[in-house]
Symmetry: D2
């Protein structure tokens, strides 16, 4: 089939996305990529923010679009980027999240035990590279930071990468949380390269500060919203219970869907066959499972599933220090009595944990500001910078979830 | 459980939606309403517009929000609306689309044969009314236009109802199609009531014109986009083939999901049991079915299903007059040979039909403009109005779909 | 002084405008261009739409920005445009409105009698060209449509030029009139060139229709809003009266500002000296004059001036046919009595006229749609096009203005 | 004249502003209020941000609109606010900035020496109150914080008042600086009253943090932008020089405009006559003066004026500590030689100063957060709040301005 040579896609967040290279078309049309249509970017967050149903495919396209702008700006500033590097860095950003499964991050380690989504992304890239006869060699080198121009990798994965730039814009657009809106247009204009490292022109400091603060706000207001935590942790509990039932030979739990494989057969080692299985999974499989399990005879899995299905979510409390064991016990006792649960079962209904977010990790991946005279300084060292002291410390919050009333 | 008395929901389209009445809470929390979370408002349109994944639940909340504004504006203009009427009209708009199933309108008559979604909405309202002990009596009277203040019904269903006002705004927001953006803020400010009929103040004419034109643009650019038509009609063909296989006793076709009921048992008459079954359906069921059927041994259903799954959509051509039978035959012949199909089977791969849209139907439900002196005039009669002649005629387009190359 | 080589300007309408060529910097920094900061784009419209105070300088920069995008898109489609042509067409759009004086169009023929603003633009371009030693030769050739690639001229002045694209976007942004929002992003993506003529890809038809309708709506809702007409015509009457007083040797009328020249010395022929005088004028001169004249002993000019100053605007009625002479007479009689006016004076307080707008002038400058097969068709000939019949006819409206009560 | 009873104004920032009370109409129509049309909200900032030409009238209307929403939300939460209080607080916000003169804050103490704009606002309110026969008694009591419900005053003047809420939104809208966009919608929903003090519901903390950070960003990126400082200080120097020339009896300096009064006659005491004179001033008077003075024979005033007129602005450097006297001397020496200046004159061309901004002043006017249990806590005491330590300290920056090259 003759491929079109140019296509535009309407994106409510960034406007029009232009695709004009055959390799980009091939990636987008591949079933592994199309699968991302069926995986929501923000997992359970739509239970709180009803607009947040956008997909990982949409995010990947958006990040690709920002990469197109970033590369074009850098080239306009006479930064040397070859046509091959340009294509490779675009492919890399398109594929950077290809390894996400349904409802990750919530379920990341629940289904494909012990495998991180970035490893999966790499494995899928390698499989595609084989299929595309090596066309992704440079893409993979950049993605794994083995290429001699680190700024290309930093555009994909770093403090100011196109991934974050897109997901913050996109997530705040679809949730309607204006606190997360970032001035990415200005940051892109201010990007530059110094000693092969990505830097920001000095006068972009306010936009970068805004970006870091916005990310912080999104964490506490959206990603770690207590109702979202409750929903995600309930999902984890459902999968834990399901695994227990699968392991105990229960027949009723079986779904006759690709999910079964990851409970019954997956060994923890990812080969081509398991990769294929993985690439058949999407949110719909989890959703159907939950709908089915809501009728299961096990009272734990059925109650949790029907609660998620009908949005009868647990109450979640967040605080800056661990919960008092007495308080936890009291909640457990209450739940045990109310639902006639055994000791083991109650842990599915009352549970604690913690969530951490750092606005800006000094010493980790730095944001470098470049003055007009070409000198470079780390952002937290700038006079009166907002990113100092408290903001560079991780904020840890402790949560407890339990049934309402 | 103690209900909260006031809640705000973040809507990226309209800002903040306030819920502050117990009956509204009860409706929103009901599983029948929560089900709308799992039904996309625009069915297959996200295959063309990747942002268009918003849900029917979100639309229902948005329309409710616009109703709150409309009622408040009318009351500010001293139009008599009692507290009971206000609550009822809000409930009615919240429930106006409750009868939608998965991928309607595309699949409307495919699953629940012969039942229109508005009838289903009414039946579900009646079921809820029973459960709520008559609290929805007035809601149902208004919804069915049996109440003595027709303007309340017109706010729910009419040329300028809150349903259209919301879906146009919402669909253009999520698709990114700026052609569909409407100035609903101004229209709401201009609404009034004359002789118990909904009217628009004369100087709102340009906003109303813009609204009608925007609707027309959305039809041709989005709802009847040729790739969207192709995808929706392929879905219809999949369900037709499934029905054929169910009817012929095929065992492999069975899904072990709530969908089976509508192929195997549903008689065409909606009773409480079938309503319950219906309210278990969502997009996920169709999606899972398609994923499963993509491995079926029947070459028709498996090819169609895997095409939809991986977005290998048929080509669709649109034109103003019927297609030449020769041309259709030629396409069929080509498909028959390419896929080794029988005469019967080829109709699943090459098919024609038509789509109709009327910008403004004169004589049907009119839009009335009210002058400062209180006189009322139908919009198409206004001097130099844009809504005249050609625009009031239905536009019919004919389509043909067939496999690419 | 070393010029910066790259600068970005923050534009709330289009985002960031990049300037990166020395000639563009020189034009923008020239006092003739900076003067446009002091001339409002929409003259008196801010009396109705308080946000509409944006300047002609801002519009010129915005149109330049759209030109940058348009040229880049065309080059991406392999349309041949040399670096010289690119620079020239950007200079041309930057200067296209340089000849506007204060409160034009309202006052266009009142101050510089008999000279059209486009002639003034050309004359100023020529003066700058001299100063810049011929650097604007090609700019002027394109501006006057004497260059052998007409599409370059059409980008500056035509049915879909960057001037209109910017002013519609900008005016609707600053007025808040959503009816005027156009999808310029999509139109720019759809522009192409065929036989050296600017064309639009066929599938851009809905965006072009939207654009034409938006322009129509802006005319009737904003540019020809009856209160705006009243204000602009009152300004014209003030200048008429001033001229009468200047001509009759009144000393009190003299302003000791650059305006005096155009009442006392200007002969109707534009030479370099009068051009210099003209380029000293801005809105402030008119505003100061009106403030001063509001204390003049002539009751006509003082009343009109103080009315404009304090926004005590005349009432304006608009209708589709001329006003009844009886009605006009009656209004005059009323005004005469109320303000003790002579026969001559009353014409400054009660006056009539007409305003015309055509949505799309068939046969004038056409909009050409290009199909995928390369064939080209005029937009009004397309099946079911919205731009047909009524919309291609000029709409004429008649107005009368008179003092309220 | 019969007043209209309801009017809507189109505001691109907030949508539609509704006016529906006779007293509000009377204030808006008053020449003192209409004068605000001719005073730009952001003074010289449009030299850097070309869109920032919005007026003080527009800001006053916007703040009034936010007040309408705030009052309506509070009443919806059962906070007792009488109809008289509601009207008064709306009048107060409408008039809160009525005392601003042209180019304040830049010129605040230059024209009306020793009188602060808030005192002027109060005096003008009193003058209007006389004219309106006491209708503004309660307005003035609330404005001067002498009313027994302090939250009403806090809505006009406090950490979260409608003034700031509007100017931040409006200024970021018109400059295009996305860093200043605030989620005012959410803050308004979260406002409440506790012990007659304005408080914010606890879960509004992120929106409030965002608001404070946005304000900080606007200060450094816009209000105290170094080019804006340069322009404003050049204006101050022009007025200083003008005063010197007026004082020395120069005849050429005289303008024959209302400005003369404040150089020649104003004694420093504000009586009704000087108030009248003050209310005739607007930006146009300053602009005309500068245009005229650009031709003055005094080399200081003519050079400064023509530089401002043609945007040949001085260079401005900003840093966290005072400038080295050597450095200042060197700059002065350079300027002296270049322009052949005397010792006295050089201070008009090279000058230093400082600018201070505090994000959140602890102990001054506090922002109180109210928990669900009704307890109230100051925002900087909240665990992990962003508003702590560094952010509550004033940031002082030192500037130096001197001619480029």
């Amino acid at each position: 089939m003759k491929k079109p040579t140019r296509k535009i896609i309407n994106d409510p967040v960034h406007g029009f996305i232009t695709i004009n290279q055959p390799l980009i078309f091939k990636i987008i049309e591949h079933p592994y990529f199309q699968r991302l249509r069926r995986i929501k970017q923000m997992a359970m967050a739509s239970l709180v923010y009803p607009g947040a149903v956008h997909t990982r495919l949409h995010h990947a396209l958006g990040a690709y679009h920002l990469m197109c702008i970033a590369v074009s700006e850098l080239k306009d500033k006479k930064i040397a980027i070859t046509a091959e590097e340009e294509l490779a860095v675009k492919c890399a950003i398109l594929l950077h999240d290809i390894g996400h499964g349904p409802f990750s991050h919530a379920l990341e380690h629940m289904l494909v035990r012990g495998v991180h989504h970035e490893d999966l992304s790499l494995q899928i890239m390698k499989a595609l590279n084989e299929e595309f006869k090596g066309a992704l060699d440079l893409t993979i080198a950049i993605f794994t930071d083995k290429y001699h121009k680190p700024f290309l990798h930093q555009l994909i994965s770093g403090q100011l990468d196109m991934d974050r730039m897109d997901y913050l814009s996109r997530d705040s657009f679809f949730t309607g949380v204006s606190e997360g809106v970032i001035g990415y247009g200005r940051i892109l204009k201010m990007l530059s390269v110094h000693d092969d490292q990505l830097v920001v022109e000095e006068k972009g400091i306010h936009s970068v500060e805004k970006f870091l603060i916005a990310r912080r706000q999104m964490y506490w207001q959206v990603y770690l919203h207590k109702t979202v935590i409750a929903a995600e942790k309930m999902m984890v509990k459902i999968l834990q219970r399901a695994r227990y039932l699968y392991d105990s030979g229960d027949e009723q739990i079986i779904l006759h869907s690709p999910l079964d494989y990851f409970f019954l057969e997956f060994t923890g080692e990812m080969d081509r066959a398991s990769l294929d299985k993985f690439c058949q999974l999407d949110d719909g499989d989890i959703q159907s499972a939950i709908k089915k399990w809501s009728h299961h005879s096990d009272p734990v899995i059925s109650r949790l599933s029907s609660n998620i299905l009908n949005r009868k979510l647990f109450k979640c409390q967040l605080q800056g220090h661990p919960f008092d064991p007495e308080f936890i016990l009291e909640k457990k006792e209450k739940a045990r009595k109310k639902y006639h649960l055994t000791e083991d079962q109650v842990d599915y209904f009352v549970f604690t944990g913690d969530a951490v977010n750092t606005t800006y990790q000094i010493g980790d991946e730095n944001i470098l500001l470049m003055a007009k005279d070409g000198s470079v300084q780390e952002i937290s060292l700038v006079e009166n910078a907002i990113i100092q002291g408290a903001l560079s410390m991780p904020v840890k919050k402790f949560y407890i979830c339990f049934p309402k009333k």
